[in-house]
Amino acid sequence: MKSVNLQACDGARLSALMQIADAAALIAAGAPLGIAGRAEALDQLPAGNWVGGTTPYFMTEAGGRIIGEDQVWVRDFSGLGAVRFAAYDVDHLEQITQEAPENGFSLTIIPFQSECHQRFAHDAATYPLAFLRPTVGWIAGFDLGQAGGKAYVYDGRTATRHADRAVVAHIELPADQMASVEIVNLFAPDGVDTIRFDTEGFAITHAIVNGARVPFADYVNARGMADGRLPLVGDYSGAYVNASIKRVDGETVHLYAPVFPGVDYAFAAPVADFAAAFRDRLDGVSQEGAAWSCNCILNFLYGDLEGKTIGGVAGPVTFGEIAYQLVNQTLVQVRVQ
C-alpha cells in the first residue's frame, strides 16, 4: 500500500461540496481524500490518494442537500497524519483492523446490499483489535428517486469502482492525538416491550417478546411499525444501537442491520422533529477536533432534513453507518483530540 504523509500540506482541513474539476485538482495535488457523490461524478475523477462512495444525499452546514452529477463532497485528511489506502474483498474484511494504524482510525466505505455489507455487519464487532483500532465509515447508497439504483465504492488509487469491496483510508494520528468515535442517536427504547432474538441476521421470522416467542412480522404489524420510521433500539451496555426495519415481507421482517441474540431490543419512542432534536443534542457540544461524520438516509427522509440544519455537522447521508460495527439511523462522528 502506498503511504502518503501530507502533514506539511498547505491549507486547513477541508470538508465541502465542490465541482468535479476542483476535486480533480486536489487529487492531482496529492491530497489524501474521502469523496462522496453520484457515480456519474465519481467516475470522472482521476486516480490518486482517495477513497469514495456513492450517495447524492448530504448534510451541509447550510442544511440537507441532494446534489447533482456536477458536484462531489470532499473530505481532505491532509494534516491529520499519515494516510494509507486499501481495498478488501469479502473474505479479507477482518484485515481492516489488522492493517489499521496502531493510533488512528480506518475510514471504511462499503456498498449497500453487497456481500461485504452483510459480512461486515455480522462480524465487525468480533474482528481482532476491533475496539483498539476503530473502524468508522459508511454504507454507500444511491438516489432513491431513480429506478435500478446501485451503490458503488471507489478505490482512488486506480480510480476503479467496485460493487462489492470495502475501501479504506487508514489514518494514522501523531502519538499525542487520539481518535474518539461518537454517535448521536435520537432514538431511545419506548419502554413497551423487551424484544430478544434467538437468531442473528438481517431477515427475522421470530422474536422473543417479553419472554414469549412470537412471529415477528405479526408483532411488527400489530405494533404499527412496518413502515420503518422507528427502529429497533438495542441496548449495548447503555449505548443505544439501532437496527431499522426495511420491510415486512410475508412472515419475514427485513432489517437494514442485523439483530443479535443476547441483546435487549425495543422499538424506539417517536421523535417529533428530527432537525430540532439533532440541534438540541449537538448544541453546546464542541466541534473541536471533528474529523469526519455521516448521518443516515432514514433520518434524512423521515426527518425531512433537506434544507434543514442540524447544528453544523456536515457529511454524507448514508445507507448505514459504521461506528466499530454497522449501525442505523444514527449520526456518527470521529473526533481527533
Partner: protein, 71 residues
C-alpha cells in the same frame, strides 16, 4: 489515578459482569462490554481484552478508571 496492573483483581471482576456495571458513555467500552457478554471467551481472555482496551484508551477513560477500585 493510574491504571491498575494486569494482575489486579479488578480486571477479572470487569470480565465477569463488572464491565456492564461501569458507568461510562464511551461508545467503545459499551460495545466491547456487550460483545464480551455475548462471547464464549474465558474470563481470563475477556480480562485480557478489557485490560488492553483500558491501556489503549487510558487517556480518555479517567472517569472509568476512577471506578475500578469500587467494583
Amino acid at each position: 489515578m493510574s491504571l491498575p496492573p494486569r494482575t489486579a483483581t479488578c480486571w477479572q471482576r470487569l470480565a465477569t459482569g463488572g464491565l456492564k456495571q461501569l458507568k461510562t458513555s464511551n461508545l467503545g467500552a459499551q460495545m466491547l462490554g456487550q460483545r464480551l457478554e455475548m462471547s464464549k471467551l474465558s474470563a481470563a481472555q475477556k480480562a485480557d481484552e478489557i485490560y488492553a482496551f483500558f491501556v489503549k484508551w487510558e487517556r480518555g477513560l479517567t472517569n472509568e478508571i476512577s471506578q475500578l477500585a469500587g467494583l
